[in-house]
Amino acid sequence: MSSSLLFNITTFAYLISMVVFFAFLASKNKAVGLAGSLTAFAGFAIQTVAILLRWKESYDMGRGHAPLSNLYESVVFFAWTIVLIFGILDIKYKYRVIGAFVVPFALLGMAWAQLGLDSGIQPLVPALQSNWLLYHVITCFLGYAAFAVACGISIMYLIKVRQEESEGTSPAGGIIATFPSSKILDDLNYKAIMVGFPLLTIGIITGAAWANYAWGTYWSWDPKETWSLIVWFVYAAFLHARITRGWVGKKAAVLSIVGFASTIFCYLGVNLFLSGLHSYGGGG
């Protein structure tokens, strides 16, 4: 049993989960929704084993390090954190339908990693040989994942609000009617960001602490650093928008989507289009 086989099974599980969630949207059958969640959780369990196995495999090869060191590994971990945050929300609040908008993000990540990225286990370059790698990457990606979930919820919110506003003129849409009310979606969006924002803050701080330990500068306006700060600014604006009249609801949802778009740019765009210290995106 190799980790790469398990990662393929994981990808497949997320694919099935997404299809089942879409079927849930169409059928509104609760059993189907439960099946969607259970498939996602099964995929998550397999992926957890796969990540640990890959960690062990790296030690067997004499290149031992946590599987968080290159683009392939980070995309896989990102998918894992997205399902983790979704699972917590699902178990706590039981709004299954969110899965249809969140699991696709995880599937997209896994599919890209398995099909398009180099999955070889590379030895760690000197710059990454530090325990800070673990703290920095884990906190950042948990934050990113919470923002991914918030983005999925915000998209649902905007769809739901449109339907609620036009209610009366057109019959209630079948699928959209299964969404939680816009008030609940707005609250869930806020809750997801309330989880993501402290994690991103810790992620930026651990990154700064590491940079200071490795180079003697905690902040050097490197594009990656700057973009993480841009993401932080956007969500800080979101948090303040929530308590300002005229900025609640739609504008907050749009800010949440803009926030996730900047998150994705910070994570991938910076490596693909700009140059800097976080060079793992150069080609994996």
Binding site: P123, P126, P198, T201, Y218, P223, F233, H240, W247
Partner: protein, 449 residues
């Protein structure tokens, strides 16, 4: 006078407004993008070729080549700081009043404004019920304050009142981080030293201004080495450093690698780069295929060294690790040019770990590579930043403040005990749904009293 006052008031309101905060945060987010697209620092010539001259002049005027230190970016940061301070000054007294002068009595107006309220019939006189309720709150929530009005008793208890300060902790943490950053830029520096193996220096060069900085002690590089993975990728860059202060070695032969810096007297040295210092000296040996003792040869790179059989040999180039080019071999390698007394020159590859490798070339002379004596220099980043502890204090406060502000809440419970009746009401300043659950559980318990 009135216009003056209203101007001051409107200016104050402007700085206190949340809309200004949102605007500044978004403005900072958007403008920060510029510096990630336009290279920062002195623009390299390759970049200048890609933009027109007018564009260059506009960028330069606007400070885009060092935008995070440009006047307008700094001004935005100052505005944000002012906004933070103004907001806090405006709101803090109100928050303090809520905490220090709590509403002790739940009158009908307050009762109507609360989302969580319940009413029970309770037999017995008010004073006995009051004592029961006090004991109840003390056991289930926290000790209440009792007020008596018109024969009714009012109990008030609160928890987590100070969580209301969480957001101000976050705001002040930002200011503390700024102070740390300013301290670092005023009293600290970033510099660089290059030290050849076996030598020392007491002067570093400022990275920005290139001015010399006296360290006040001597740092010596005893040795520098690079180790490699079996893939040929570098595994570790290591300098063995000694620090000599007042003629005495205070730190001796401390290995310094990437991610493990050396600190002395507030100055920290980080392994950053390395390179060759001066010409390397190669050690080769040559023997005749026909037999006989090998002869040792010492050569500098490119130097023609005469061979005992006539002609000469020259080291063309070399590599410390051959694996990336020849996966089936490993270790150091050199390429030689062998020019016989007559005929065309020949080329040979010699591998240090495979002394017989050159035999397969089939020449009359068989060369072996015994090693290279190559002096290297180590490049160390030097940093002194007295503001760094202040920055970490700010960061810690920020995380603590965010957790307080997001996950703790100020919960308040009122109980009114009147004749034959008990009314309980409660509120939380955040996470109302979770509070509602706890309130319901509390009220259910009260019912059983």
């Amino acid at each position: 006078m009135t216009t003056n006052k209203s101007f001051a008031t409107s200016l104050w309101d402007f700085f206190c407004s949340l809309k200004l905060s949102i605007f500044l945060l978004i403005a900072l987010a958007v403008t920060s993008i510029i510096g990630t697209v336009i290279p920062q620092g002195p623009p390299p010539p390759e970049y200048l070729q890609t933009i027109s001259e007018t564009k260059f002049l506009v960028y330069q005027k606007l400070g885009f080549f060092d935008m995070y230190h440009s006047w307008w970016f700094i001004a935005l940061l100052y505005l944000l700081t002012l906004n933070l301070i103004a907001c806090s000054i405006k709101r803090l007294p109100r928050v303090w009043k809520i905490i220090s002068e709590p509403t002790l009595v739940m009158d009908s107006g307050l009762e109507r404004s609360l989302t969580c309220t319940r009413q029970f019939k309770m037999a017995g006189d008010a004073a006995t019920n009051r004592d029961r309720m006090v004991a109840f709150l003390k056991a289930e929530f926290t000790e209440p304050v009792v007020t008596e009005t018109d024969g009714e008793f009012h109990l008030f208890a609160q928890k987590g009142a100070y969580s209301r300060f969480g957001v101000y902790v976050v705001h002040s943490s930002i200011i503390i981080i700024f102070i740390g950053a300013i301290l670092g830029s005023l009293f600290g520096y970033k510099a660089f030293v290059s030290i050849v193996e076996g030598t020392g220096t007491s002067t570093a060069y400022n990275t920005r201004t290139e001015q010399p900085i006296d360290l006040g002690f001597t740092i010596k590089c005893e040795d520098f080495s690079v180790s490699y993975y079996d893939t040929g990728a570098p595994k570790e860059f290591k300098s063995i450093l000694t620090i000599i202060d007042n003629g005495k070695p205070v730190i001796e032969r401390r290995p310094t690698i990437v991610n493990s810096p050396l600190s002395y007297k507030g100055i920290t040295f980080y392994q950053s780069s390395y390179g060759p210092a001066g010409d390397p000296i190669f050690y080769l040996s040559v023997r005749k295929r026909a037999g006989g003792e090998p002869v040792k040869i010492t050569a500098r790179q490119g130097e023609r060294v005469s061979l005992p059989t006539g002609g000469f040999v020259r080291v063309m180039d070399y590599a410390p690790e051959v694996r990336s080019a020849m996966p089936q071999f490993s270790g150091p390698a050199a390429r030689l040019e062998i020019v016989p007394p007559a005929g065309a020159p020949q080329y040979a590859l010699v591998l240090k770990d495979y002394p017989d490798f050159d035999a397969q070339r089939g020449g009359d002379l068989i060369f072996a590579y015994e090693g290279v004596d190559e002096k290297q220099y180590t490049g160390l980043q030097v940093a002194k930043d007295p503001g760094v502890l202040v920055v970490w204090t700010g960061c810690t406060l920020m995380v603590v403040g965010i957790f307080i502000a997001f996950f703790l809440s100020h919960r308040r419970i009122w109980i009114r005990v009147s004749k034959g009746e008990v009314t309980i009401g409660g509120t939380a300043n955040r996470n109302q749904p979770a509070f509602q659950l706890r309130f319901d559980a509390l009220a259910d318990k009260l019912k059983q009293q």
